[in-house]
């Protein structure tokens, strides 16, 4: 294949002494080496894993002249998740008025932590189809915490959730809680 036929036809039997013609064979090995080297380079530099994206729809800001629609929610039918400093996380199922430090439970971002809490809340909810998760990131939380919790929403298949700011009452209790190092 990689040789060029250089033998002239019909030169037999004319008695002349000829130098033996060598076929011009090209050694392809270095070329193959180079080819594969370049392939390796391109394979490694190509980014195969294109980043994913997560949807996040925020509620529309109410206009000043429009009345704000409110719907009654039972506290037992919601769970509030408060994300804090150093990847710490708390949750409670009480209203802001009845919340006490004892009722705000510390959890973590693992499967046994917040995910179990959400699922448990869902099972015990009075009307599970309206079970709402209120996500309250404090100013100490990181972007990763937010993404992690939004991820938990899709893992637990919770469709009713909202991101809101924590109330002052919750922040006070959070500050008490965060001052104590995690056990």
């Amino acid at each position: 294949m990689a040789e060029i036929d250089t033998s002239s036809g019909g030169g037999k039997g004319d008695g002349k002494v000829r130098a033996k013609k060598q076929s011009a064979r090209v050694d392809m090995t270095p070329m193959v080496d180079l080819g594969f080297l370049l392939i390796t380079f391109f394979v490694f530099t190509t980014t195969f894993s294109k980043p994913n994206m997560m949807k996040l729809n925020m509620p529309e800001k109410p206009k000043d002249d429009e009345p704000i629609e409110t719907s009654e929610m039972k506290e037992s039918n919601t769970i509030s998740i408060i994300m804090g400093k150093d990847n710490r996380i708390f949750y409670h199922q009480k209203s802001a008025k009845t919340l006490t430090p004892e009722l705000m439970i510390e959890s973590d971002y693992s499967k046994e932590g917040i995910r179990t809490a959400i699922l448990k809340g869902k099972v015990n909810a009075t009307s599970p189809e309206k079970f709402t998760i209120v996500i309250k990131p404090t100013d100490d939380a990181t972007y990763k915490n937010t993404v992690d919790i939004l991820d938990e929403m899709s893992i637990t298949k919770s469709e009713l959730y909202a991101i809101v700011d924590p109330t002052t009452g919750e922040l006070d209790i959070y500050k008490q809680k965060i001052a104590v190092p995690k056990k």
Partner: protein
């Protein structure tokens, strides 16, 4: 009578086929590779189990670095010029063709519009050394909000808005973006995340 010695010859393998395959693959990889524009900041995104892939075109990206600086970039190079012209008009900055050409090469930038012109006039090798201060995004004056709303409402109405934050970015920096864009009736966001396996 001397014994006839067979000519010694090492085993020769025909490399041509292998060479063909190698270069075929090589040309495939070269043609499918998309070169990324120079990004002005490295951001390490958190990961999620989401399976939706980000589209190739029609995406405006707000990047937020760990210190809370904002960067903005759009994926379609052709639309960059138009966007820049509109923004320059709004802010009363004069632009010439050279500025537009230079701007079209920017994958993203993190600089206020007043400083942008000066930045664009720098030679490309000096542009790399400039420390970007981030696009201003305060509740009183949000240039970032103007960039985004100009793009989404005037240049490409079907574009998507993506937020690319670093894992260690603090939440208030993200909240500030959501607030400013909420004021401009932009409420749909895509959060860019890395890939993570679904939990069992």
């Amino acid at each position: 009578m001397p014994a006839i010695k067979p000519k010694r010859k090492g085993p020769v393998m025909d490399m041509t086929a292998m060479c063909d395959v190698a270069f075929l693959l090589l040309s495939f990889f070269i043609m499918t590779t998309q070169f990324k524009g120079q990004e002005s900041v490295t951001i390490d995104t958190p990961s999620s189990i989401s399976q939706t892939k980000i589209p190739e075109t029609g995406v405006a990206t707000i990047s937020i670095d760990p210190t809370g600086k904002y960067y903005f970039g759009i994926s379609n190079a052709k639309e960059r010029g138009e966007l820049f012209q509109r923004m320059a008009q709004k802010y009363g900055v004069s632009v010439n063709n050279g500025d537009l050409k230079s701007f079209e090469k920017l994958a993203d930038f993190g600089i206020s519009i007043a400083g942008l012109k000066q930045y664009l006039n720098l030679p490309p090798e000096d542009q790399l050394n400039v420390k970007m201060a981030g696009i201003p995004n305060d509740s009183t004056k949000s240039e970032l909000g103007d960039w985004v709303s100009t793009y989404l409402k005037e240049v490409n109405t079907s574009a998507k808005l993506a937020i690319r934050g670093d894992a260690t970015t603090s939440y208030p920096a993200v909240k500030q973006v959501l607030n400013e864009l909420g004021k401009r009736d932009i409420n749909k966001f895509q959060l860019i995340t890395g890939v993570e396996g679904a939990p069992n």
